[in-house]
Symmetry: D2
């Protein structure tokens, strides 16, 4: 039995932990051989491989990133992509393919598996935690931890200068990182993509916080949008490639707050630090268990399935379930957290 492994999409702390668990159990318990594919779907498309065995996975558990490399290459958008992948797998005598990735990567895996008979197993990966069918994805806890530590730090600088500090965190379509880190960091306002925000309401919270002699922290997901939608019209400029470039919502909001409340406001955009570096203990645990269960799917020839977390159990669901719809923040949960606003 030869098993291929690839990691697609944005990097995420815990990818290496998944890879290590797959290989450790696959080799030790089942005697499988492995082929690592380079840079997501580019690997099987271009027959770009990397050695994958016990020595190559030594010491990678605590390391962020992915030893296989990653890319956003989508074989469905590449001429003859599916055929080329099937050909590579055949040439390399790969009997099963474990794909670790998010919506796009798993979407391809679902198609390959369901429509083209390629024996795929999926492992869900998104730092934003917005994949359905699993309680959590690895990387999310690490990102929330980093954002929370940053918010902790920003409190003291906000208080010392009695300034508003706006913290822009990841989350294009779902506000999980904003919600968790904002709550954990004691933010006074949390804005998420799921609900358009009212700048006047934000300013009211900011003002009420100052009235209580504290300095407000506003946590905003990068995908959050104001109600009136005028953000996109302002502040656009051309970047050096001539593309339209929008300043982020954090910077925009800080300026609006300054203008409307007369208080100084500063923005911090956390950016890539949220997705790099060593995974948290929780993410190492989750990623490792995902890997152990993914290789068990292969052993059981249970293809077209994805591993998922339900409570404290790892379960198997159809890969397509993960990508059927985006897992967004429930309005009731957002309201629950709202008790801390202002």
């Amino acid at each position: 039995m030869r098993v291929g492994v690839l990691t697609g999409g944005g990097d995420c702390p815990g990818l290496n932990a998944v890879i290590r668990a797959i290989v450790r159990k696959g080799v030790q318990e089942y005697g499988y051989d492995f082929t690592g594919f380079r840079d997501g779907w580019r690997g099987p498309l271009e027959n770009a491989t990397v050695r994958l065995d016990i020595p190559t996975v030594r010491g990678i558990l605590p390391r962020g990133g992915t030893i296989l490399g990653s890319s956003r290459t989508n074989p469905l958008k590449v001429a003859d992509g599916i055929r080329r992948i099937k050909q590579t797998l055949a040439e390399l005598e790969v009997d099963a393919l474990i794909t670790i990735g998010g919506e796009d990567t798993l979407g391809v895996a679902a198609r390959l598996s369901d429509e083209h008979g390629v024996p795929c197993v999926g492992v869900p990966k998104t730092i934003d935690n917005d994949l359905s069918a699993t309680d959590y994805t690895f990387g999310f806890d690490t990102a929330v931890g980093i954002a929370t530590e940053a918010i902790d730090r920003l409190h003291t600088t906000a208080e010392s200068h009695m300034r508003v500090l706006v913290v822009e965190v990841m989350g294009r379509h779902a506000g999980w990182i904003a919600l968790h880190s904002g709550l954990a960091g004691g933010a006074n306002v949390i804005l998420i993509p799921e609900q358009r925000f009212d700048v006047e309401q934000v300013c009211a919270w900011v003002t009420s916080r100052f009235r209580a002699s504290y300095a407000p922290i506003v946590v905003v997901a990068e995908g959050a949008m104001p109600k009136d939608g005028d953000m996109v019209l302002k502040d656009q400029s051309l970047d050096s490639f001539g593309h339209v470039r929008l300043s982020g919502v954090g910077e925009w909001l800080a300026k609006e707050i300054e203008k409307r409340t007369g208080k100084e406001a500063r923005t911090t955009v956390l950016g890539h630090v949220q997705r790099g570096g060593t995974p948290s203990a929780f993410d190492r645990w989750l990623a490792t268990r995902f890997g152990l269960h993914a290789i068990d799917c292969v052993r059981d020839r249970d293809f077209g399935r994805m591993v998922a977390l339900r409570g404290t159990d790892i379960v198997r669901v159809p890969i397509a379930d993960a990508t059927a719809r985006l897992k967004t923040v429930d309005p009731a949960l957002y309201e629950e957290v709202g008790v801390f606003f202002g």
Copy 2:
């Protein structure tokens, strides 16, 4: 409506986050008044109270410990304990009591509620994560994080000197901290109270690790015991009070490994650092949500209930469910993790 709050048993990161959430929501949304009881059950027993309102819970979210103090006082073992508690509650016109604690504290709350008609709501707390009826308890994630970071650090010193490093972590009756931190830290052996260990097997794993030119890390829960049970017979000494004092299992094991394998071994006992300091983001999230739901139980006059985590939801269960049996590590899960031993 006046609500009493107390924290009992060993301290745990997240206690303050629970207290803050209870008070913030209770005051802001429901207009309740609060009475803080000092040092667990000692508070209502001795009418020892502390002010508890919005200003007193400001800034406590990231702080470990408990502003209410804690103790292991058990009113069931105190003459006339139940009557005295009822009297204090009556005198102070406390209409409901939120008890945050572990097996002992909640056991009293269940009795008070079920047998004596005292309107209690429970919030589960144990750093060991061994309470039934909830997927996780707050404090556990922080403890696992601290232990994992320590194991990460010990790897490099083990490798540099080609020594065995034995790390003793918390867990008297359940091996959750050992299992999670051992897995996350890449330990080569993990020993838990649920399964007596075979010293010869441990030494075989240690030796096999050295043969692969790596230095082994052995994570052992403080409550783990060898199969032959001879540990307790050795190494006992009298402490300065004349009590029998046993050296911990970690120290005992290191000596056994040295004796049987001829390799140098060192022990690190993590101790109280595992339960102190700022809670992790996850624990702040969980503790805060427990607090918000506990005060909702009060509002709903849903007494005799405890809040609990199920997947990503907070649910309500009878308080007695939490203490019915200890939540220990399932043998199947221990075996799953065993692929990394040796």
Copy 3:
């Protein structure tokens, strides 16, 4: 004896440690009384004070920011500023003033002391470490630690996607944070304000790094400038107040690298997280010792002096020495570090 204390300029981890040490020693050993002035020079200008005694400094050692508040108010630029300060000090019967601050704050203290006979003692503070006459200032070590951890994290995301990551750190006029964190974080290029950089050279280093199959990290101080100076001409836009707004050097550089090397590049601007939160152990040590020695200056009536670090000793120098010239990175040191570029 009544001693006034103020903190001016940008906040910095360690300010509270200085204040605590001054008060603890001043009260316990010398029996002094204290007056805290609010928000830097605004305090004595407007007679805005805050209580300062043993209870108010309890627990502040590990806390970032300053319990006194800070501002950039400069009494030399305020009508009648000096006279108003002298009047406040006289009214409050303040016998000596300890000023904790950077170039501006200490510049005022030097003038007050040397020209107006106000008994001042200075404590140097700059997160950028660019004050002369002291080996290090507190806050710098914390900032370097935070930046280094961020760089550590960015390595894994750079490698996973084979991208350039540009990290913009603090340092308007001196490159100390860039130099220390860049070296400690294993950056492949470090750019500082002291030496204009050649974009072509940066791109050559970037390309050489990719050729060795690694992804480059470029650390750039916010005040670094390209040789040809064309940065300021590009990318400018108007902000919502109609002011010209320049994109930072980090963002500019990433675009240039993309354009010239054809490689993807991303920017992270660390911003305010570098100056917030709990001080490192070193900064707590240094800040505390500065505080202890500052109050000893008062006891010795050794005014017009500033405490400073020389090796492991705290010494006293004229306040004016600190502000005589900016302490910038020596070209020889920059060259020493250059062995790691590319």
Copy 4:
């Protein structure tokens, strides 16, 4: 030119950073070849070597421990040791030897250099910071940081239970780690090997702290001793090898405090976590600069010299200077810090 490198004694965060800097500069700037010796002096004694070049030092900057391994082997105590070392160096055509180590390792280097004409360069290494002739050694800052974080955590658990927490930190002969971490962690008592302590005085400080309604933290260096010296007589037991085994000073002191004050006391022995894991930014900076200057000593054929830190400069001193006397805590400094006791 072929340069040998070895690391001796206990491991220390920063060793790999030294090695990397030596090799990077030696290869890139001077075109040298390198021989890594295994496990300190065992390497040249037994001709045990390891490859050392640019690829082998890739990625080791942030890693604790030493890729060369270490041991306490002392060639002066080995029959014919010096001759065997000279023979190995001759056989391998090693022209210069860089020895990274503490008192013992550098003592041998001094003898080899001064008495036997072996061209040695020394790099000082001791986590305890007790080597003369240098302001600081790398590893110390990391150890202090870890101990400080532990003390921070223990405060909250001490307060919650109103217990004494005794923290035993490293430092057999010098109290630097205790002094720095105790001060930075806000300890209420700090005990160091340089000054025998009076248990009654310790108990008085403990009691006074409780009287102020706070729980005391006592930081004690492992080598600290009580005045009456009776510690060694109590609590001794035989370990499983039949050797006399003394309980550590921390445990002893906690029991004495309990006995004398009637307050509960707990001990945490930090142990090996203090010397493992990734070095702090400061230690990476210092270790790297030591490495760069050590290879410059080789280039300058300036043998018998050790690199050292003086203020912010790296200087060269005779190797023998480092080992001439132990650098202990000055009584005046200890007294300065004493203002925070009690």
